[in-house]
């Protein structure tokens, strides 16, 4: 290996001795001289854990913490397995040059998938240290006890040695095995649930104090010697072709350095940030509009989607004969649910800084998938992979936005062009218009009840506008690749999802189709991963419709669901059925659910109250949510006064951090339920700022949020209880729970997201007319 080892960084840069969360700019500047950057070897214990002479440990993991406290959780699980005090540990995440490639964040897999190798390597380090102590003391390891990084002889506690004394400043040199990084293991066994001490506690998140006192170094704040500032000039309409640039329109701006143009990609580069902003506004660029309208208007979107030829269909999932059962049903229902495109609209727009010094390329980025950005940039710029590295730093909430990290690619491209460090940042209007969107859905539901109100047939047919869904930092799909003409020839297939429930319905059919907009390249209406990419849309339809069926059967919505769940005792290895039943019961109990059919009998007054439930799972994490709403029937305003979530993600590592994540995740979906919609005319996005694209505000915050952490496993004390992912499941049922509560309050069924006051008011008026 020609590159300096990580331990050399330790000696030369002082970077790793910096306290957690406090990466100083001086340290960054010192480190950036190094290169090339070979991959840390995940099959070496030293790549994961460093123990210093002062008996502190640093963990190096290939994940990023987007503000849900996963970094704290990693320290908890690893310190637990290592048997070292939590407060003697720190964690370094997401730096491609010094942390193993676990892919960064995504899919709520931090604990569910990547937590396992972390636990196993920490257990292995503990085993190796016990062996070393046994050799030192001349005893067998079974005579040793270990506590908080100190090993002693069981019968003679005066004979003791610390981890730091055994290994501090030296390498383990222990090889690990495993076919891939997820399978990485030593020979040590991990602990049983009963042996874990830090897991299940709630140490305060280490990332919070520096976020509160202003000391955190953010990716957006990186400053490098000689750094330039860049801004984009984006096409005024989707699919426009650049005809010409009048550079004289900006040459007189103080600090002007260069206009960079390649294909339809245009950036201006200046010495100072405000100069670049001015130049981007002032640059005269002439564009040619495309021949074809790139998309319908947002008002016409769903009609367009229902009429478009599918570009892809999933094989239907069927049981029984749904059509025949619908025909024979005593009561048949049909409803169509529409969810528009919804954006990430991160609180801070896309940004990155790239440094081309010494023939390397270092990108300072908040990319949740920093490893993918590194690979993508290397291919995009045709640089050897080991000359590119990404230093992950904190940034505005990601939830999938940086899985297509436009700014990271742009910064690297511009730094290479300018041969100087370049910082690029999008403006608000660009971000809100051009960020990646969650796919729009139109879903047709049909259901049939028998004479006794039993659900005998259920049909789900979805159309997702997701053709050319952007993936994970591929060098030929990010926006700059499209604009510079380096895009791939075939659009990505995209996806469409089906409901996630354990309901037993004798005749059931679930089908899905992907449709595309007329223009799928160089367009602001482009789909990507938005936190649980399809779940809120699908669950809005499926769980609203279950409520419609319950109402048609004159049944209580909770009882109706429980009947569908308990109609079978078949369960999977994760006990999803048993746990589904447990969360529904727990949420109803916490809420104080009064059993009765919806809607609630009409009352006097302008403010109507109601409650609604919805449930879903994602992989093995199961949630049920109840929303209590107040609907003002004279204004149409909906206020969700109370939210209850019963949540089962198996073994909970940090209950308080989990509760907070669940609260915020539900409110994220509440924002999507009440406010969010990407609007566009026939050629551009028109919802571009916080006025034209409203979001949840303080005024919308519920009065009460109750989170119940349920362990619905039939054997709640199982020693191998697994830790499932918890970053997204809670987003699924919220929209449906709110819609069901609005129905309960008003008797009006809203089947189109978002539930803005004018839509609710129109629906109320239509019903009472």
């Amino acid at each position: 290996m020609t590159s300096p080892s990580r331990r050399d960084f330790l000696k030369t840069s002082g970077f790793l001795v910096a306290s957690v969360g406090a990466i100083s700019l001086t340290d960054l500047a010192a480190v950036q001289e190094a290169g090339p950057y070979a991959d840390p070897d995940f099959r070496q214990l030293d790549s994961w854990i460093v123990i210093r002479g002062d008996n502190t440990a640093t963990f190096y993991v290939g994940k990023t913490d987007l503000g849900q406290g996963t970094g704290t959780a990693f320290r908890q699980i690893m310190s637990d397995e290592l048997d070292i005090a939590y407060d003697k540990t720190s964690v370094v995440m997401g730096r491609t040059d010094i942390t193993v490639d676990q892919g960064g964040s995504g899919g709520s897999d931090a604990l569910q998938t990547d937590g396992w190798p972390m636990r196993r390597v920490a257990a292995e380090a503990r085993r190796v240290l016990l062996e070393m102590a046994a050799t030192r003391f001349g005893v067998t390891t079974d005579r040793l006890a270990v506590s908080d990084g100190v090993i002693s002889i069981k019968n003679d506690p005066s004979r003791r040695v610390t981890y730091g004394e055994l290994i501090g400043g030296r390498r383990f040199n222990v090889a690990l095995t495993g076919k891939d990084i997820d399978a990485t293991t030593g020979v040590a066994k991990i602990k049983t649930v009963q042996e874990l001490r830090m897991v299940g506690q709630s140490p305060q998140r280490f990332d919070i104090p520096p976020k509160v006192d202003g000391s955190l170094q953010w990716a957006v704040g990186v400053k490098l010697p000689g750094m330039l500032h860049a801004r984009n000039v984006k096409p005024p309409v989707a699919g426009a072709n650049l005809l010409g640039i009048d550079e004289s329109s900006v040459r007189a701006i103080p600090g002007f350095v260069k206009v960079v143009r390649k294909g339809n990609y245009v950036a201006v580069v200046c010495e100072r940030e405000e100069q670049a902003i001015r130049a981007a506004r002032q640059l005269k660029v002439s564009w040619q509009k495309p021949q074809v309208a790139p998309f319908p208007t947002s008002e016409d979107l769903f009609e367009y989607m229902r009429g478009a030829a599918p570009t892809f269909s999933i094989p239907p999932v069927t049981s029984g004969d749904t059509d025949a059962a619908l025909d024979g049903a005593a009561k048949a229902l049909e409803a169509v649910y529409d969810v528009p495109f919804q954006g990430h609209t991160a609180i801070g727009p896309a940004h990155a800084t790239a440094d081309p010094s010494n023939g390397q390329m270092t990108i300072y980025s908040n990319d949740m998938k920093s490893y993918g950005l590194r690979n993508g940039v290397a291919q995009f710029l045709q640089m050897p992979r080991d000359r590119v590295r990404v230093i992950w730093m904190d940034g505005p909430q990601a939830f999938g936005r940086t899985a297509a990290d436009d700014a990271g690619f742009e910064a690297a491209f511009l730094a290479k062009e300018l041969r100087r460090p370049v910082r690029v940042q999008w403006m608000r209007q660009e971000e809100t218009a051009w960020d990646t969107k969650g796919p729009a859905y139109t879903i047709r539901m049909r259901g049939g009840l028998d004479r006794d109100g039993n659900l005998v047939a259920l049909s789900y047919e979805a159309r997702a506008c997701d053709h050319n869904h952007l993936g994970y930092n591929e060098p030929d799909t990010v926006l700059i690749a499209q604009l510079t003409g380096m895009r791939r020839s075939t659009p990505a297939r995209g996806g469409v999802s089906t409901p996630s429930d354990m309901y037993v319905v004798p005749n059931r059919r679930m089908a899905g189709h992907v449709v595309g907009l007329p223009v799928v390249w160089e367009t602001p209406v482009r789909t990507g991963n938005l936190r649980d990419p399809n779940g809120p849309q699908v669950t809005f339809a499926s769980e609203s419709f279950i409520d419609e069926l319950a109402a048609a059967a004159n049944a209580d919505p909770v009882a109706f669901r429980l009947k569908l769940l308990t109609a079978s005792t078949d369960d999977d290895s994760g006990f999803r059925r048993a746990r589904s039943i447990a969360v529904i019961k727990a949420s109803a109990e916490k809420y104080g659910w009064d059993s009765r059919p919806s809607p609630r009998p009409r009352r006097a007054g302008n403010v109507l109250t109601g409650r609604g439930i919805a449930y879903a799972f994602r992989n093995q994490t199961v949630v049920a949510e109840i929303a209590e709403v107040e609907v003002n029937r004279t204004t149409g305003r909906v206020w969700v006064k109370r939210l209850v979530c019963a949540h089962d993600c198996g073994l909970v590592v940090n209950p308080e951090a989990l509760r907070h994540t669940i609260e915020c995740g539900m409110l994220h979906s509440l924002s999507r339920a009440l406010h969010e919609e990407v609007r566009f005319d026939g050629e551009k996005v028109t919802s571009v700022d916080w006025i034209s694209h409203p979001t949840l505000t303080h005024a919308d915050s519920p009065e009460t949020i109750d989170v119940v952490l349920v362990n619905g496993d039939p054997n709640p004390h199982r020693p191998d209880l697994q830790h499932y992912g918890a970053g997204e499941t809670m987003c699924k049922p919220t929209i449906a729970a709110v819609a069901n509560a609005i129905y309960d309050a008003t008797g009006v069924r809203i089947r189109r997201v978002p539930f803005r006051p004018e839509r609710v008011l129109t629906a109320i008026k239509a019903t009472s007319a």
């Binding site: 976020k211 957006v220 405000e274 801070g348 727009p349 904190d394 940034g395 608000r428 303080h698």
Partner: protein, 155 residues
């Protein structure tokens, strides 16, 4: 360019910038402060908030020349002699932030609110904080932290 003197967190800084430049860029790029952040540049989200003369001000739309000579407080200047402000302590006790990007504006807007109204009702908190957006949706805990800090500051 002109020389402009700014008083930030008790210290004086002379900067040489265009007078019309928004204060935000000068605080971040010339004075090196990380607290105020760019969120929208339109005065709509509050991520750039600073306190000037006791008022929460959106620095992304405030020309630097109009802040000349005034006392400017940023998130970095809230602690006194290394002791965190009660709001900052409440923010930690309630474990408020997720990503944290907006929290500068949340904390400083809350400070201005409590400075003019030490015992706000729930409705006054909602109203007073409404222009400060959080896309991680930490509103529920922010409101709890404001109430906690108000209680502590009163005792």
């Amino acid at each position: 360019m002109s020389k402009i003197t700014l008083k930030v967190n008790g210290a004086s800084h002379v900067v040489d910038v265009e007078p019309s430049v928004p204060l935000l860029y000068v605080l971040r790029n010339d004075i090196g402060l990380e607290g105020p952040r760019f969120g929208c540049g339109l005065g709509q989200c509050g991520a750039c908030t600073v306190i000037i003369k006791g008022e929460a001000v959106k620095s992304c739309t405030r020309p630097v020349s109009t802040a000349q000579g005034l006392d400017i407080t940023t998130l970095e200047g809230l602690a006194r002699d290394g002791v965190l402000h009660p709001l900052q302590r409440a923010w930690i006790d309630e474990q408020v932030p997720q990503c944290g990007f907006c929290q500068n504006g949340q904390i400083l807007t809350a400070k201005a609110l409590l400075d003019r109204n030490p015992h706000p009702t729930d409705a006054e908190i909602r109203h007073g904080m409404q222009g400060t957006l959080c896309r991680c949706m930490t509103y529920y805990r922010i409101q709890a932290a404001i109430k906690r800090a108000a209680k502590e500051m009163a005792s």
